[in-house]
Subunit: 276 residues, 2 copies
């Protein structure tokens, strides 16, 4: 049933309450909904055909041409849109300078069957990363490196955390990110598809640029403080490290992912493999 009024001025309105609750992981998982905030990210979500349940906006959005365009798009797509007072909007927002747009989308239901593998595909498996900024940046990096997908183990920060979405710059809508499978299911997928498992670890003997791979690979990176867990170390085809020259004890995990994926891409491009 469509709402008669398209204005919301009360905190107790159920759309407001729902949107607010979705800042919390448990509520997101219960509702299978998440929030996207900001003009550009909402545009990306629409382009990626994310199903948008409803949107909330304030005068700030309506004041810009791009915002007006977005409202028109919602209208064309039949998305319920509600106007919210600026002050109330600010209370909902997860950002310091809200742009006045908040869309509630349905979880993307992605599993391993979404992956399209080629002879030279790369995957990134993220095992237990805790910082949402790091996870979002890793997804952005994997997308830029042309990875076929990103796999998240249980115990990794929630994909639908607003900070992850923001740091990903919307790339979570552009590359398959799979967070619903068990480690065992990931492993049997790798085995079935002859995907080599390359685990990055400070204790690795080989240097990352000395791996010799053929066919698809998955790069495994672990938690910021503890690295990857035993499960993937035990099942690695190679355990490799990034040599550190200076006094720094470690690298940021997203920077490490960038070094590994882009070096792999470089080597694949220097020795191109023809694919159909």
């Amino acid at each position: 049933m469509k709402e008669m009024s398209k204005e919301i001025s009360s905190k107790s309105n159920h759309h407001i309450k729902l949107a607010k609750s979705l800042l919390n992981r448990k509520s997101r998982e219960k509702e299978q909904l998440f929030v996207v905030e900001g003009v550009r990210l909402v545009e990306e979500a629409i382009m990626a055909e994310i199903k948008i349940r409803f949107a909330l906006y304030s005068d700030k959005l309506a004041a810009s041409q791009r915002g007006q365009q977005l409202l028109k798009t919602f209208d064309q797509k039949g998305v319920d849109v509600f106007w919210v007072e600026e002050k109330l909007f600010r209370e909902l927002s997860d950002t310091e300078n809200p742009q006045g747009i908040f869309a509630v989308g349905e979880f993307m239901q992605r599993d391993l069957s979404c992956l399209i593998l080629k002879e030279n595909s790369m995957l990134l498996l993220i095992d237990g990363v805790q910082d949402p900024g790091n996870l979002g940046t890793m997804i952005r990096t994997a997308c830029a490196a042309g990875a076929a997908g990103v796999l998240l183990t249980k115990g990794t920060v929630d994909l639908f955390n607003p900070k992850v979405i923001r740091a990903s710059m919307g790339t979570i809508f552009q590359i398959p990110v799979i967070s619903t499978e068990s480690n065992e299911r990931f492993l049997s997928y790798f085995q079935k598809n002859k995907i080599q498992v390359l685990v990055a670890d400070a204790k690795g003997e080989k240097l990352y640029y000395q791996t010799e791979t053929q066919g698809p690979v998955v790069w495994v990176l672990g938690n910021e403080a503890n690295g990857p867990r035993d499960f993937f170390l035990d099942h690695a085809d190679e355990i490799v490290r990034i040599p550190l020259l200076g006094k720094a004890e470690s690298l940021n995990v997203a920077v490490a992912a960038g070094i590994l994926l882009f070096d792999h891409m470089r080597r694949r491009q220097e020795k191109p493999i023809l694919v159909n």
Copy 2:
């Protein structure tokens, strides 16, 4: 003059007021002082011989063995240390889970004369990066790659921002970071020392791993949204780009720095140059 009492319980105490004011860039620059928060970072600062003016601590620090050790170190070094109530400490803190230690240090006075250049040295020049997490991560990355130093142009986020120090994981104390020079002074230093200027830009024609360099180099990375400014583009020996394969429009600037510096390190190691 040493304080008679070593306990502070009032917000109006001048040490508290000073420490609090140092969360602000202008005050830091006026006083030439900055704050370091957290056990590990303070330990790093002490090891790096940063001059510590005074320290504030709460019961939380005193409760841990490592904290007790830190207090002993302060005592040995004759640093004034003040106990602060937990609640007051939390108000001062820039972090969500304060560890109960807050040291006020004097600015490191570093200029180009601090750099020690060798035949295969790398420098990182950061031109206008705005996010403190990005700047800190870039310094950490440069340190791990064995760079000889990091240069910051005017208009880059303040080196002594607490979030920069935290993201750097203390590496700002381990690698020379120079933020007091003009672009012209940087450039004349490069010219005098035959340092090749390699600028990363999305519009670069050459790929980053195809540069052919001999001798020391400086990698220039620019602002998150706008890239490097014309000054360095105009004076570049090479303008290079990182090829992006996926739909992502760009990389995080700290990830880009990691890819560039580590690839350079790799090539230097594959073709080693003997240095004295």
